[in-house]
């Protein structure tokens, strides 16, 4: 797969085996969007069961095999499988590849003025590990024993007893390898292949976010890989890393040597999973900062505060993991320590949000479609972050843990937070990818309907959480204390359906505009960062003229200048 693979005639060969970071970035984006859609479908089926427990699923009920949904009504095992796979697909196959693989691969080399990634073939291997891991994960539904059924967190001993977990573990190891290869590639590219003059203090915030994300991926994923290998050994070689002595499962004594500890998995899993949630968040913050600076026509407020906060989030993310385990039997003294570190890490996140809001001050704000998404990110991430406070506090977490309050909290950060910002990124960089703009009216329709539906789905969850509605319940009507809040399930489900419908304009707009979108020049948004200083779509090798960087990334409306922006590769002539 040497250099000529890029220009060879056969399209399939040219796309799927090209080592150009732009082609791989697009492949990642489209594959991740497809996986997001699959994960969304699983959630819709779940929502039907939550809204009308025990009633047959309308269309799907007749198609599904009897052991998954006898006469249309889904079994609890199938519900658990849907829940586990929804979580896994959305996190590991959807948002991380979109934010890191898709945008990172395409935009990072452009923004630092490099011709390509440091190791192009490694980049291609990373995509292929991701694609095969994703397909293996999806195919686990049709494997004997069905998909994984013990939540995306797969706590043992349940994960050791339940069927379907082995394929999940193999797919996870492949996805982890893909992310590790990607992280090494990103870090070496950002440190070693910057254009002349692109000092670290002149990097756009998006590049800083990708650097911190790559560090999180690089150092947090291996523990989960080791823990997954141990769980694989438990399942296949009947060792008992996570199985204590003398388990009695459904009346039969479980024949295992015992001596293991279930909490060990939780420690190792959350050691990854907390940095993972920052991996979901940081690319979105990078995209929001690019769009905000561009559309307020003014440099970001407090560049150093944002970069400093991102780096401190990167470091602190590794020392907060056990706030997911306050009531899991972990020692209460350790909970106090993690309570303090959790509160410390909330400070940099708030500092970034404050800097974003203050960046609006004194700007001349253009309400383009990407700007709408970026602006909506701020209040939505605000709700997500604030509802983290009662969960981070040990005492209030006693009541709120494993209730719908938590589901509302992390969905607010991930869906109206990261996903909205990532969609804004698609609208923002679409002209760079294809040289054509996405339709604005469709974009605005998509924005307003998605925003309203997202809030409609997730806000009732806070109320259900306060009423104590338990998480991962196949039949929410079973528990007396969650019967009064059952109508809220119907509200959420209706809005979830509408949210699905509101994505149709986006999908149509995306594929329609590739060929028939309104043609644009190389820099439709008049952005100063280097990714707009090359033709769109950029040729192989990206920059037609040598790049030299003279000043910071967001040189907008300089004093005493006619044009209200100066690209990074142009001198500021006073």
């Amino acid at each position: 797969m040497s250099q000529d693979s890029h220009s060879s005639s056969k399209p399939f060969y040219r796309y799927f085996f090209s080592t150009d970071h732009k082609v791989i970035g697009l492949l990642y984006t489209i594959t991740a969007l497809f996986f997001l859609l699959c994960g969304f479908m699983l959630m819709l089926v779940m929502r039907w069961q939550l809204a009308f427990p025990g009633s047959p699923i309308p269309f799907l009920g007749r198609i599904l095999s009897p052991n998954l949904a006898p006469n249309g009504v889904m079994t609890p095992d199938f519900y658990n499988a849907l829940g586990a796979m929804h979580g896994t697909i959305m996190v590991f196959l959807g948002i991380v590849p979109l934010g890191v693989g898709g945008f990172g691969n395409y935009v990072l080399p452009l923004q630092i003025g490099a011709e390509d990634m440091a190791f192009p073939r490694l980049n291609l291997a990373s995509y292929w590990f991701f694609l095969l891991g994703g397909l293996l994960m999806l195919s686990s539904f049709i494997m004997p024993g069905g998909a994984a059924q013990s939540g995306w967190t797969s706590y043992p001993p349940l994960a050791i007893i339940n069927p379907g977990q082995t394929v999940w573990l193999f797919a996870m190891v492949m996805l982890i390898t893909s992310s590790l290869l990607g992280a090494v590639n990103f870090l070496v590219t950002s440190f070693n292949m910057r254009a002349m003059g692109m000092k670290l203090s002149r990097l756009p915030i998006f590049v800083w976010a990708q650097i911190v994300t790559a560090f999180l991926l690089l150092l947090a994923f291996p523990p989960l890989e080791a823990a997954s290998v141990l769980q694989l050994m438990d399942r296949i070689a009947h060792t008992s890393f996570y199985l204590p002595q003398g388990l009695v499962i459904l009346g039969m004594r479980h024949i295992a040597s015992g001596g293991g500890q279930p909490l060990l998995w939780q420690h190792l899993f959350w050691f990854l999973a907390h940095p993972e949630v920052y991996v979901l968040l940081l690319p979105a913050m990078g995209i929001v900062s690019e769009i905000l600076a561009n559309n307020t026509r003014k440099p970001l407020h407090g560049y150093n505060v944002i970069v400093g906060s991102m780096i401190s989030i990167g470091i602190l993310a590794f020392v907060v993991w056990a706030h997911h385990m306050f009531i899991s039997g972990m020692s209460a003294v350790l909970s106090d320590f993690f309570l303090v570190t959790t509160m410390i890490i909330s400070v940099p996140s708030v500092a970034i949000l404050t800097s974003f809001v203050f960046s609006l001050r004194g700007g001349s704000i253009r309400f383009t479609t990407p700007m709408l998404f970026a602006l909506a990110f701020l209040p939505m991430f605000g709700i997500g972050g604030l509802t983290g406070l009662p969960l981070g506090l040990t005492v209030t977490d006693i009541y709120l843990h494993d209730t719908y309050y938590i589901i509302g909290h992390f969905h607010y950060i991930v869906v109206p937070g990261s996903l909205l910002a990532l969609m804004g990124g698609v609208y923002y960089w679409f002209p760079k990818w294809f040289g054509r703009k996405m339709n604005d009216t469709l974009g605005k329709w998509h924005f307003w309907t998605s925003l309203i539906c997202m809030n409609g789905v997730f806000f009732p969850m806070f109320i259900q959480g306060l009423a104590g509605q338990d998480r991962r319940y196949y039949d929410p009507m079973a528990a007396l204390h969650s019967v009064p809040t059952q109508p809220l399930h119907v509200v959420s489900s209706v809005f979830a359906g509408l949210l699905f419908l509101s994505q149709i304009p986006f999908i149509y707009n995306f594929f329609y505009s590739i060929r028939h979108g309104e043609k644009t020049d190389d820099n439709p948004w008049q952005a100063t960062t280097l990714d707009w200083a090359c033709p769109s779509p950029p040729p192989h090798g990206n920059f037609t003229k040598p790049i030299h960087v003279y000043h910071g990334p967001y040189e907008y409306s300089p004093v005493g200048h006619k044009a209200d922006w100066i690209p990074q590769n142009e001198e500021i002539l006073a």
Binding site: P157, I161, P299, D336, M343, A351, R366, V559
Partner: protein
């Protein structure tokens, strides 16, 4: 307050009040912060929207750290919240559980999809449990050769507690991780196999409340429900006496079930 509704359920244990105080306080502060930022955010959007001819003013000199003052205030509030509220109440609830010697104790062995409530009986000592004795009629595997096990009472899904007296629950599980969740007591603790975790509660209201499982434990996770009946001391003793095993058979499965 109605037992169940949209807000927090009835507070029926000694520390439920302090947990509710924390939840209400944080939600009040959250809503306040959100409203203030929301107003400021919309003001900025309206005031600084793009007007023809008016270009953006660059004001990097404007105090970057001055804009972080609101965050500082929130951080100070958080530090005070931790020092004054979180750590003391947490240690009251989770760390200094009353010694299980002289206090009314109950053992709960969760299993896949039911709660086995195990009372020590009049001798106040729990019988030893062995996994090899587990049988349909002896779900927790009580070893009847052990004298302390003779008078133990094992009942499924029905926890009786005396009112206004602290009870220590020795929580464990026999197969997977479950989580004992009693909304009214604001009590939630994972039952981890291989670990015996003491949890204490002092009910303050007589009545019947609900146990539900808060940690995914397989197929019937949502159907694994139990009942908590809080009675006056007299009723509690009477109920206990009515459930004691009459003639203690030496070996065969006890009919206490």
């Amino acid at each position: 307050m109605k037992q169940y509704g949209w807000g927090l359920p009835l507070a029926a244990s000694s520390y439920a009040g302090s947990i509710d105080f924390g939840i209400y306080l944080i939600h009040a502060v959250m809503i306040l912060i959100f409203v203030i930022w929301g107003v400021f955010f919309t003001y900025l959007l309206i005031k600084y929207r793009k007007k023809t001819g008016v270009s953006a003013e660059r004001d990097e000199t404007h105090g970057v750290f001055k804009s972080l003052i609101p965050d500082l205030i929130v951080m100070v509030f958080e530090i005070v919240l931790i020092a004054v509220y979180a750590i003391p109440v947490w240690s009251k609830i989770k760390i200094d559980t009353p010694a299980s010697g002289n206090v009314n104790t109950v053992a709960i062995e969760a299993q896949q999809w039911s709660w086995n409530i195990h009372y020590p009986g009049p001798d106040g000592k729990f019988g030893k449990t062995e996994s090899k004795y587990v049988h349909f009629s002896n779900p927790i595997g009580l070893d009847y050769n052990d004298p302390a096990a003779k008078d133990d009472i094992v009942i499924a899904n029905e926890l009786h507690l005396p009112v206004n007296e602290p009870t220590v629950i020795e929580l464990t599980s026999m197969d997977v991780i479950h989580s004992l969740f009693i909304p009214e007591f604001r009590l939630k603790q994972d039952a981890v196999p291989g670990m015996k975790i003491p949890v204490w509660v002092k009910p303050t209201k007589i009545g019947t409340f609900e146990i539900s499982c808060a940690q995914l434990c397989g197929m019937a996770h949502s159907f694994m429900r139990g009942k908590v009946v809080v009675q006056s001391r007299a009723d509690y003793d009477a109920w206990l006496k009515s459930h004691e095993p009459q003639a203690a058979q030496p070996v065969s499965a006890s009919e206490a079930f």
